[in-house]
Symmetry: C2
Subunit: 326 residues, 2 copies
DNA sequence: TTAAACATGTCAATCGATTGACAGACGATC
DNA sequence: GATCGTCTGTCAATCGATTGACATGTTTAA
């Protein structure tokens, strides 16, 4: 592999000058600029990112920890983060915690070792040890932790409120509120709260809260639990699903029971993943502005890198995507 | 951030000794070993991976280029790769090419800059320039390129054969063979070939080949095209879908047309992603041993790192997952 | 004419860890 | 008493790029 020195020799210039071209510092004539570029091309020169990071004391990598990659919501988040990072010439270092705290801690260490520019944490309960003073900012995605540097969230309470209103508007009276796994703890809590608050304003509404065990991160199979829930309230006519994946499986299970959607039962999902448009009828769902959220995460990390101040907590609105199930 | 020097000072030892502990070289007494560990713990020492990579001339990162992250098949691949890499203490550097050759080339450069230990290429047509002599092995996933160092594949021809036999076994006579996007070019070609070869052995079988445009990588919406295909052969009674995503949308579209699955139409998907179990009925599909394939990729990269020889081409069998649609 | 802006070179330190050469010290063994 | 094997230390080079200080030119512009 060619080094800076080789390029300098090839171009008949000094390392200093070549470095100036590479980093756009000081005075450089257009002429030498091109001759440096030519030399780099001839030698297939690729600057050694390790050496650069070492001397700059920070890399162009951003760590991302998700609980699961196969879950369409996190796949979507990853996709948006990659796209936002790429625009700023940053790369993603990907980690999958499978919801295990020990893994999260390990991955935080690895990020620290690699001197990432920042860490986006899509996983993790409040437990994860001390997240400050790591030398890089930790931004939580869709959750807020006191021990992190910043949080980018959606108004989950609002999401619950919108979902409840939509189901009631569509004529549902016996509601099932199903909280999923994967979006463990806090986000789901706020959604449920918003949902229940609206319900309590309507005395005629009956609600039942169902919690899924957090073990479905990879196989995403909620069928067993959904059966139990539906058995417990067989005449439900409105379901608020914690994710589109759950919503979709609820549709399948309802079809098996001969209950029609949306005539007999209305459903509101969450996340608006691709999946939600593939069902028949298409799933009504609550959408988060994931691309904007991802961009915000990257922005925060870049601001921190430039030593600028950044918001400690950013909250986005969610919107209702009304489709065929309500 | 504490450095090796700091640890040495804290432990009252020399850098040489501390480095010996870290890298398990030479003679070290159990006593100093623990005192070094203690010192590291006290200082929250995290070895600088950049410095290490620089002097070792190789990092513990593995580049991965996929065309899309939201596509459940690639999400699954990523998930398995992450898991296999983690076992060996390697990290993934994630790139999403969106099927664009220019992006692929750019990403290969970035990997080269970062002196990755290897690159797993899940994306890319044969076009991608020269992939050898980059200083690290390039392993293609589910495709074979002459200009890469190794390929880990599935027997796609076999997949096509199995799918055809299954549809015929289930009583289908007018077949639709739909090749998807995302799994562009070669993999899909071989599948189709196997499928058609079996069909040509049965003179009573009618087949129609349909190609989807490769623009659905992110939204995964094949509905428009599926409608066209189904209009062209409205009485089809057997569909071989290029992916479960397509298979699932075909089910939805068939339901709208009042055609029952599997009574009127049989469907065989491909990939066996989580999705395939969420439909009603569950989708019969061709499964690839993705976890094993991912492990093999990582193995190859590790062998290359140790300068051992590795297989240039590894082929796995696919298996039929017979479920409700056949 | 003279001071500035422009353009490049030299040199050396630095980032943090790795590695090898070499030198002592201690204890055990023959 | 000589010879190993074990344990640690010192020292310096190296990986490849960055950066700053400083010198030396050449153009421009006032």
């Amino acid at each position: 592999m060619a080094t800076l020195k080789d390029v300098a020799r090839e171009a008949g210039l000094s390392v200093g000058t070549v470095s100036r071209v590479l980093n756009n510092r000081g005075y450089i004539s257009e002429e030498t600029r091109t001759s440096v570029r030519d030399a780099m091309a001839r030698l297939h020169y690729q600057p050694n990112a390790m050496a650069r990071s070492l001397s700059k004391r920070s890399s162009s990598m951003i760590g991302v920890i998700v609980p699961s990659i196969s879950h369409p919501y996190f796949a979507k988040v990853l996709s948006c983060l990659e796209s936002a990072a790429h625009e700023k010439n940053y790369q993603l270092l990907l980690f999958c915690s499978q919801g295990k705290v020990s893994r999260e801690e390990e991955y935080v260490s690895v990020c620290s070792s690699n001197r990432v520019a920042g860490l986006v944490l899509c996983s993790g309960t409040v437990k994860t040890g001390e997240l400050r003073d790591l030398g890089f900012p930790v931004v939580t995605f869709e959750r807020f932790l006191n021990n992190a540097d910043a949080g980018v969230e959606c108004d989950n309470y609002e999401g619950g409120v919108i979902a409840a209103r939509e189901l009631i508007r569509a004529g549902s009276r016996k509601l099932l509120c199903i909280s999923g796994a994967g979006e463990v703890s806090m986000p789901a809590d706020a959604r449920r709260e918003g949902f229940l608050d609206v319900c309590s304003e309507h005395p005629e509404i009956e609600v039942k809260v169902c919690l899924c065990a957090p073990e479905h991160l990879d196989d995403l199979n909620y069928v067993q639990e959904l059966r139990t829930f539906l058995d417990e309230m067989p005449d439900t006519d409105g379901i608020f699903a914690g994710s589109d994946v759950i919503g979709m499986q609820a549709m399948t299970e309802l079809a098996k029971r001969g209950r029609r959607v949306p005539e007999d039962v209305r459903i509101v999902g969450y996340d608006d993943v691709n999946l939600a448009r593939m069902t028949n009828p298409q799933l009504t769902t609550i959408r988060q502005p994931v691309p904007e959220m991802a961009k915000e995460c990257i922005d925060i990390i870049m601001k921190a890198a430039r030593n600028e101040s950044y918001p400690a907590r950013t909250m986005f609105h969610v919107t209702l995507e009304r489709r065929g199930t309500t």
